[in-house]
Symmetry: C2
C-alpha cells in the first residue's frame, strides 16, 4: 500500500508558498471561517454587540417607530454587491441604525394585531446550535441524529391530534416506510403538501394508468372520466388554498367557497348542496377543507359534520389548524376542535401557537402510508431504501428547524402549552368585555378562541349602532373611519392591531365591514396592555374626528375605495 499512499509531504510543499503569500483578503476570510481562537474571539465580540441590540429590542413596549416607510425605502436603493468585505463592526453599526431600530416589535405586548408573540428565550441559543451544526434534513448523511429526532417530534404532534394506540406509534414512529407527518416552513406548504397527497392518492395508478403524478392532470381526468376536479372549503379558508389549487393544476375557480354562518362557521347545508352539485356535474371532489381557527377571526368549522360529509363523498378531509391546533393542549377548550381526529391530514404551524420562530410548520397524516404518493428518488441522494426524509417532502434541502419544536415540547411541556392557550383565550374574553362595555367600540363577532374582531364607532353613530340600525351609507362612513384609524395607529407605532374586511356580520352579507383584528397569544400582554391599546385608539380616533370635522367631508372620505 505504501506506494499508493497519497503523500502529505507533497501537499504541504504546495501549501508552503501559499501561506507565505497570504493576502489581507485571504486572512480576513480565514478569520471569518476558521474554527480558531481568533475567530471565536471575533464572534464573541460580535455576539456581545448583537446581544445588546437584542435585549433593547425585546424590552420595547411600542409596536414600532413612527418612521415613514418612504424614508426607510430610500436606505435600500444601492444595487451593486460591495466589492470589498466590510468591517464587521461597521456593518453592525449600520444594521443597528437602518434595520434593527425600525423593525417591527413583533414580540411587544402591545403589538396584538398579528399572529406573533414574545418567544421563549431558549429559541435563541437553540438557533445558534442549529446554525452551527447546519444539518440538512433532506438525507441521513447530513442529519444522522436529527432525522430520527424529527420523526419522534412529529409522532408526538400526531399523537396530540389522533391519539392512536401505543402500538401504532411504536410501529410507525421510526419506520422508514411510514410518514406520520412532514415538517415544512409554514402552513402554506403544509396545506399544499396535504392536497398534493390527496390529489395523487385519489387519482393514483390503476390498470394501465400510472397515476396523476406520473401522467399529469389532463390524462388523469380523461382516464377516470371526470369532467373536472374541485376542492371545497368555506369562504374563510386561508388564501394558501388558492395557491394550492392554482399550483396543482386544479385552478383557483375550482376551489369552491361555501358561505359561512354568522359565527363564521361553514354552512353545512350549503356544503351538502355543493357536494351534490359536484356529483351531478361529474366533478371529482379532491378534498374538503375544515378550518380550525380561521386567520380572519379564529372561527372553527363544524369538523365532525364536515368529516361525515367528506366520508360519504369519498373525499379527503383536510383540517387547516395552522392557528387553532394547539388548542388541543387545553383540557378546557379542546372540545372546540372535536372532530379533528377524523381528518385525513392536519396542518399545524410551529411559529404560531407553538411559540417558535418564523419558518416552522407541519402536516400530520392519519394514514402513515399516504405520503408515498409524493415519493421521489435520485441517484446521489434520497435513495429508495434510505431513511432519508427528503424522499417524501415538497422541499429539498432544509434546516433542522424541527429541533425548535422538540425543545419546546420538552421545555414548555403539555401543561405549559395548556397554560398559554388558556391564558390567551381568557384575555380575549376580557377584551370582549371591555368592548361590550364601551359604546365607542362594537364587537363584531363573539370570539371562539383568541382572535377578536371589533371596530370603532364615531360618536354620531353610537345610538344607531347600539340599536343595530346603521344604514349601508353609515357603515361605509364607519368603514372609512376605521381604515384611517388603523393606518394612523400603525403609523404612530405605540400600539398595533391589524385590519380585515368582514363579509358576514349582524349587518348582513352584502355590507362589507372593516374590522380591527386582534390576536391575543403573547404571554406578556397584560390586561393593562389591552387597556392601553384601546385608549390609544380612542385618542387617535378623537384626533381623526376633529380632522374630519374641520374638513370637507366629501373630499376627505373617499368612498371609491369600496
Amino acid at each position: 500500500m505504501n506506494k499508493l499512499t497519497v503523500k502529505a509531504k507533497n501537499s504541504q510543499d504546495v501549501m508552503q508558498p501559499l501561506k507565505a503569500s497570504v493576502t489581507p483578503l485571504e486572512e480576513k476570510l480565514m478569520e471569518l471561517f476558521s474554527a480558531s481562537e481568533k475567530s471565536f474571539l471575533a464572534e464573541e465580540a460580535m455576539e456581545e454587540r448583537i446581544s445588546a441590540l437584542v435585549e433593547d429590542f425585546l424590552y420595547a413596549k411600542t409596536a414600532s417607530t413612527d418612521i415613514d416607510l418612504e424614508l426607510i425605502i430610500q436606505e435600500f436603493t444601492e444595487n451593486k454587491i460591495p466589492a470589498l468585505p466590510a468591517d464587521v463592526g461597521n456593518y453592525i453599526d449600520d444594521l443597528a441604525q437602518t434595520l434593527v431600530a425600525h423593525s417591527i416589535h413583533t414580540s411587544s405586548p402591545r403589538y396584538i394585531g398579528h399572529m406573533t408573540s414574545a418567544l421563549p428565550y431558549f429559541v435563541r441559543p437553540i438557533a445558534k446550535l442549529l446554525i452551527a451544526m447546519n444539518q440538512n434534513l433532506v438525507k441521513m448523511e447530513t442529519a444522522k441524529v436529527l432525522t430520527p429526532c424529527e420523526r419522534q417530534t412529529l409522532a408526538m404532534m400526531h399523537r396530540l391530534i389522533y391519539d392512536f394506540s401505543e402500538d401504532f406509534y411504536n410501529q410507525h414512529i421510526q419506520k422508514n416506510d411510514s410518514t406520520l407527518g412532514i415538517v415544512v416552513t409554514g402552513g402554506t406548504l403544509a396545506n399544499i403538501t396535504a392536497l398534493w397527497c390527496a390529489r395523487n392518492a385519489s387519482l393514483g395508478p390503476k390498470n394501465n394508468f400510472s397515476g396523476i403524478e406520473k401522467e399529469g392532470l389532463y390524462a388523469a381526468l380523461e382516464f377516470y372520466g371526470y369532467k373536472g376536479m374541485v376542492i371545497i372549503g368555506s369562504s374563510l379558508m386561508h388564501y394558501s388554498f388558492e395557491k394550492a389549487a392554482g399550483l396543482l393544476g386544479i385552478g383557483d375557480r375550482n376551489l369552491l367557497k361555501v358561505p359561512t354562518d354568522s359565527h363564521h362557521r361553514m354552512d353545512l347545508a350549503a356544503l351538502r348542496q355543493t357536494v351534490a352539485e359536484c356529483r351531478d356535474r361529474n366533478l371529482h371532489i379532491l378534498a374538503i377543507i375544515g378550518v380550525a381557527g380561521s386567520t380572519d377571526s379564529g372561527s372553527i368549522d363544524p369538523l365532525p359534520e364536515i368529516a361525515a360529509i367528506a366520508q360519504s363523498a369519498n373525499a379527503h378531509f383536510h383540517v387547516d389548524a395552522a392557528w387553532g391546533g394547539p388548542v388541543l393542549f387545553s383540557e378546557r377548550h379542546r372540545h372546540k376542535l372535536a372532530g379533528i381526529q377524523l381528518a385525513d391530514s392536519v396542518t399545524i404551524d410551529g411559529h404560531k401557537q407553538m411559540y417558535l420562530p418564523m419558518g416552522i410548520g407541519m402536516v400530520l397524516f392519519r394514514n402513515p402510508q399516504i405520503a408515498k404518493v409524493i415519493e421521489k428518488n435520485a441517484p446521489y441522494t434520497v435513495r429508495k431504501d434510505s431513511i432519508d426524509l427528503g424522499k417524501r417532502s415538497l422541499e429539498g434541502s432544509r434546516s433542522g428547524a424541527s429541533l425548535f419544536l422538540q425543545a419546546a415540547l420538552n421545555i414548555i411541556g403539555h401543561q405549559g402549552y395548556e397554560f398559554l392557550i388558556d391564558a390567551g383565550i381568557h384575555k380575549t374574553q376580557h377584551l370582549a368585555n371591555l368592548i361590550r362595555e364601551n359604546p365607542a367600540f362594537e364587537l363584531l363577532l363573539e370570539p371562539e378562541i383568541n382572535l377578536l374582531l371589533y371596530r370603532y364607532i364615531p360618536e354620531t353613530f353610537r345610538e344607531k349602532a347600539a340599536k343595530k340600525q346603521l344604514t349601508e351609507a353609515d357603515n361605509y362612513f364607519i368603514n372609512e373611519f376605521n381604515e384611517r384609524l388603523q393606518e394612523a395607529q400603525r403609523q404612530a407605532g405605540d400600539t398595533f392591531v391589524s385590519r380585515t374586511t368582514v363579509q358576514n356580520t349582524c349587518y348582513g352579507k352584502t355590507i362589507p365591514i372593516v374590522a380591527f383584528r386582534v390576536v391575543l397569544a403573547n404571554p406578556l400582554t397584560t390586561e393593562a396592555d389591552i387597556s392601553f391599546v384601546l385608549n390609544d385608539q380612542l385618542k387617535i380616533a378623537a384626533k381623526l374626528s376633529l380632522t374630519i370635522a374641520n374638513s370637507d367631508r366629501c373630499d376627505e372620505v373617499n368612498y371609491a375605495v369600496y
Copy 2:
C-alpha cells in the same frame, strides 16, 4: 372622552389576585418568555453552555462518530409530549449527549461529500438577531424594514446575473409592481416557483379564457388546443423538477430528459430533436431547463445554445444554478456560465456556495413583471395595493432569512466570494491530479468546477482499468466494492465522501458506474485534508479486500442490487 377611557385600574384589579396566586408553572413560563433581568440571565447561562457545545462541534475534524444508526434510533422512540416542563439544564445535557455528540460534522474539512461547508462566524450572531426580531416577510406590517432590505438583496443578486443598466435597477429595485426575485427556502422551491410562473405566463388569460391559474390545466389545454404539456431538460436535472412536473399537474413523464454527452452536458442535437418531436405532436413546451452545476458532477449545460433553442421554441428558459451560480463572482471562471444572462429565470441557493445556513434559496427573473401571474390577495393581508412580499410567493409566512445573504454580501463582498470560488476549483484540480497519479483510483470525469467523481479500483483490476479494458462484469464487481467502501468509510466517520451512480462514463451509457462524489467548497479543507481522505479510503479498501478474499466472493457480493 373621559367616560370612554378604558380604566387601567379596573384591569389591575383583575390582575391582583392572579399575581397573588402565581403557580410554579406560571412562574416558570414567565421566566421563559419575559424580557426581564432574570430571563436574560437564564438565557445567558444557556447560551454559555450552548457556545461550549458549538465550539467543540466546530473544532471537530472527523466527519462523524462511528455510532450505529440503530442505536441512535432507539433514543427516539418515546412518543408522548412530556406533561411537565423540563429543566433547561437537564434538557441541554440530554441534547449534548444524544444529539450534538453524534450529529454530522458538516463543516469538517474532511467531510467533503456533500454541498456543505464551514460557515462564516457572523451567521450565528445574525441568527440570534433574526430569531429575536422574528419578522414575518409575508407582509410589511410584520417586516417594515426587512421588506425593502430583501428587495435590495435580490436586486444585487439579479445584477450579478443579468447586469442590466443602473436605470433598470433604479426603476425596479423598490417598485411594488416589480419582482426581481423571490427568496425561498431552497433550490427546490425556487425551481418550482420558476416553472409555476412559466406555466401561468405561457397559458395566461386570452379572450374569454381567464388563464390556467384560474381555470386549471385541463381547461387550459382545451382552450389553447394543445395535446399535452412538457418540460425539457437533461438527464442530470435535479430531482426537484420531477416534483415540479408532478405538482404542477404536468406529470413526471412529461418531464423529458435529454441525454448528456460524456462531459455531462446536455446533448444539443438530442434537444433539438426533442423540441421538434414535441411540436410535431402538438405538445406545449412549457420550459427548457439548463443546469449550471449539476448536483451529480458540477457539469454545466451549453447555456447560450439552449437559450437560442428555447427562444425559437417560444419556451421559457430556466437555469438551475443552485450550485453553480456563485461561480459568476470569479473573473477567471465566470465564462463557464456564459449564457446564464439569457435565462428567463435563474435559481441560486444561499446555503450552497453563498456559504449561508441551511434554508435559503432564491429565484431571479429577467422580466420583473412575470411573477404577477402567481399573485394572490387576502382581505387581512397581502392586499393588492400593499408592498407585501407575500403577494407573489409560493410560501406564506416566512422568516427574514434573506438578512443572512445581505450580511454576507457586505461582510464577504464580491472579492471575498471570488476568492472562495477560485480556491474551491483550485483544490478540485489538485485532487484530480492526485487521483490521476494514483493507480488505485480512477477519475471518472474531468471536473468542470468543484465537484469531482472518481472511484477506487481494486488491485486485480488496475491493469485493465489503465487500458480502459474493464468488462461489464468487472465493473459490476468494482461497483459493489466502491459501494461497500463508501458505506464503511461513512460508518467509521473519520472522513466522508458521498456516492452516486453515473450512467455515462468512458465505459459507455449502458454500464452504470458507482462513483465517489466529492464537493470542495469548504475554505477550511486543505490539501493535507484531501490527502487524508484519500489515504483513509486506501486503508479501508485494503481491509475490505482482505475480508472479501477471506470469504466466498459470491456470497458476499450481491449482484442483485443492480
